[in-house]
Symmetry: C2
Amino acid sequence: MTDTARDNVLWAWTLIDALAASGVVHAVISPGSRSTPLALACLRHPGIIASIQVDERSAAFFALGLAKARHQPVVLVCTSGSAPAHWYPAVIEADMGGTPLILLSADRPPELRGCGANQATDQNNLFGSHVRAFHELPCADGDPDMLRWLRALAAQAVDQGCWPLAGPVHLNVPLREPLLPDRPWPALQAAPVAAVCYPVMTLSPDAAHSLAGELSGGRGLIVCGAGVFSSEFPAALMDLAHRLACPVLADPLANLRFGAHRNNTVLSRYDAFLRAADAPRPDWVLRFGAMPVSKSLQRFLDGLAGVPQLLVDCGGRWLDPLHRASRLLRADPAALCRQLSELVERAAPPSWLAAFKAAEHRAAQLAEPEPPPEAEVVRTLIDLLPAGATLFCGNSMAIRDLDAYSGCGDKALRIAGNRGASGIDGNVSTALGLAAAGATPLVALLGDLAFYHDMNGLAAARGLDAVFVVLNNGGGGIFEYLPQAGLEEFERGWLTPLELDFSHAAALYGLSYAKVDHGAGFCAALAVALKGGAHLVEVSIDRANSVARHRAYWEAAGENMF
Amino acid sequence: MTDTARDNVLWAWTLIDALAASGVVHAVISPGSRSTPLALACLRHPGIIASIQVDERSAAFFALGLAKARHQPVVLVCTSGSAPAHWYPAVIEADMGGTPLILLSADRPPELRGCGANQATDQNNLFGSHVRAFHELPCADGDPDMLRWLRALAAQAVDQGCWPLAGPVHLNVPLREPLLPDRPWPALQAAPVAAVCYPVMTLSPDAAHSLAGELSGGRGLIVCGAGVFSSEFPAALMDLAHRLACPVLADPLANLRFGAHRNNTVLSRYDAFLRAADAPRPDWVLRFGAMPVSKSLQRFLDGLAGVPQLLVDCGGRWLDPLHRASRLLRADPAALCRQLSELVERAAPPSWLAAFKAAEHRAAQLAEPEPPPEAEVVRTLIDLLPAGATLFCGNSMAIRDLDAYSGCGDKALRIAGNRGASGIDGNVSTALGLAAAGATPLVALLGDLAFYHDMNGLAAARGLDAVFVVLNNGGGGIFEYLPQAGLEEFERGWLTPLELDFSHAAALYGLSYAKVDHGAGFCAALAVALKGGAHLVEVSIDRANSVARHRAYWEAAGENMF
């Protein structure tokens, strides 16, 4: 006779054990009844670190942060009904940002679907094109052959979530009642799964030789945006850039600006100096990762009709929003850099890199003596963060100000962000997920709307070392720079000031709270907050002043930088 | 030459104007750049009442509440990227609950998709099987024939969202830059659209005659669950039940328990009296709407093998989770009741209804003298709410306690809830949407987890008359009644107490706050709160006491009710 409850426990354990054997360490569980066997297996498995979060949306972004911390797949568990739909924004971010997530949604069995049963909805292909794979499981089955298949499927799901492009994988898990057995429980054991070996993808010797010849001696630009790069990539790229003597325009999320790997080719202030009419035209552009956040860099690249633009990508994506790519190089970035470094024969004329370094220097001076207030906040952050710290940067203005004003440095800082879909959603939880995975000290730099959007996520801050720096410019300040600012409906429909006193949010979630100016006040509050615990540091930004100084800075950058 | 900006404005205006001409009154907008022409058309159209909400998830549930208030389709507008994904939980609730929503997601044009452009993701069929229809629009086109088509499509979308089963319809709206023109703006005018006439669906005379014959004189049970019924339905059903002299077991969300329409056939305490071993077996069951929330009613119906169970539904759904239906009657509930009333020849024996009314009376006595604390809260609510008030009831324990303890009454009270997917999500915003549509005074009865889940939604409370009554039993108290309560991981993995001081949430959003006991304290606080404004009344529930009294009540109901 079928023992449904026993099969449920065995089935869920086998799934979780096989995921753990495939490299999963973290699981984030939202409470529910139907998901009980899955949640219990996560809570009891010795190889799984389980977190609990009531709000599935925050749970998913928290899992995203955990997964980003070490590029390991993280499991999400929730109950049936609308619950898994709350994962969708984080699923889209994971899809576009290349972050591995294993989504385990509990479901009603087939006989309770489409007939008005409680909390039963159509969870088949719930996330459409935004997952690498979808697997509809059968109901729990205690047959040893079925359990063996389930182990293999779990390993396959992790593989699909990791390669060739990391991302979310959805397993829908129907479970019949009774969900839990009376004692005794079935014996639950750990077992191995098939291991997967991944290739190093390089160009053929001929293609690499030919490419190196094209790059050698040219006045080239290397552009590196956000991406999931291997730990060997920074050094490999630095070596290639050094041999080519070409500048590397490094987006903050490329994680090239800060650290001991950095050599003198890395530049960060191109958002300013590429506004200049005298910015020189390169012979070629070699791009890694996503298109950087800088609008002026994008405009510059868009103006380079006829210049070869080469795009390196091994994940199958076509990251060329300008439609200017002349060649896609399907190769591992670090491996390609090493391959090319060995083949490059001549560097660019020394004046080429020197001109860009001079422009970088001039741009750094431009912000003085009256930088935008956000520039001072960014500088204080970079100065005060200890080596090894992680700075999570929110979207909208926060990432643009970090991009423009961070500069570069030898101190090892990790910069993280959600630039897949670039939403202002889930930023609090993603930051806390990074902190929970040990990426501490962790500072999150967010605008007021982004902070509000994921305020529920603060429930996970308890016991973590995390500092939220909220740039409060009274709403969607980024829209001040767009034509919408001229509309009479601007404040109501676009700026949308929240008029919330965030001290109450801090009190609700047990964070310390300080409201400070962007100068000495912020400096002092940050120094205190970095000593440990969970903190909210709200920086009051005078929006009009900020807009004026940003504009003045950009205007100054428009001329004679080279 | 194509004038993109002018076309954008014309296109968006035409779409919104045609939606307004098709009956849309409310639009809920989340701020963004790409959606600017759509948002602006909503803000400027004289026939549209626009609300702004930063969090798209809360915005969607707020729209759901607006749409529920008068069963009118409500427009949602947001920008591209992960933004529309936040609508998904409300879309699922609207799908399953039969609530019309028109989802307008702005999108990047085709040339910015799949190429790494910022905030561009695959929005095609974003909501999968959970919308009645999906329309991918072309980019804005100023050609008069295209604008004429757009008007027709808007009217068609409203039709798809209203009939035969109301629900969400998604229009994805790609827009090219520049989004806004310089002055002068194009002339924007209102124009009509095709009107749609809907049928009255009745059975054929022969079928109705035969059905009436089957029901006549039988010991029947009428069961009515949640549903979107016409305003004629309560009176029509009461008339039929009177002629048949059969009890109507009315779920609170059937909106039959309270109001002047009610006659002596309506019963509310079946969750208690159907637990009795001596509950009599009916000759037939006639069901309207969804399966009611009561588990004991479900068990009772499941035990009626061989008894004809007839299910009335004109929306194309098959709402029979027990797989006990013997016949589906595809007819309009009110029209069918009127049709049958004219044909019914004999009532049941008087003892039949009398036995059920006696059981109802006994069940009402059972809760004395020590009712569960939630029962007292429910009774106070029913007593103190003025005629015409709306009570939004959250899911999990709140709806079960309302179901068990509300009783019936002549005072007109509207009971609302989200029983499509039955999630604890979006409850705050749905309630506020009802209030914003004029369903005031509005009281929302929610558990602590449901209140927390949608706390961001409180941003819309400003200026509304709304009272949130939060039954705080320290987490997911409903799980106490399930086998999970015996697990050693129970508190951490299922109960999940939040340990949040909600007074800070009230302060954050400008609600008054009172923390009270379930007796006199609640009574006094509710009386004050009902005078107007936005209030949070937190009722502390002793979970152990609550569980013990619920169990004692159910046990007492298990014997000799008939």
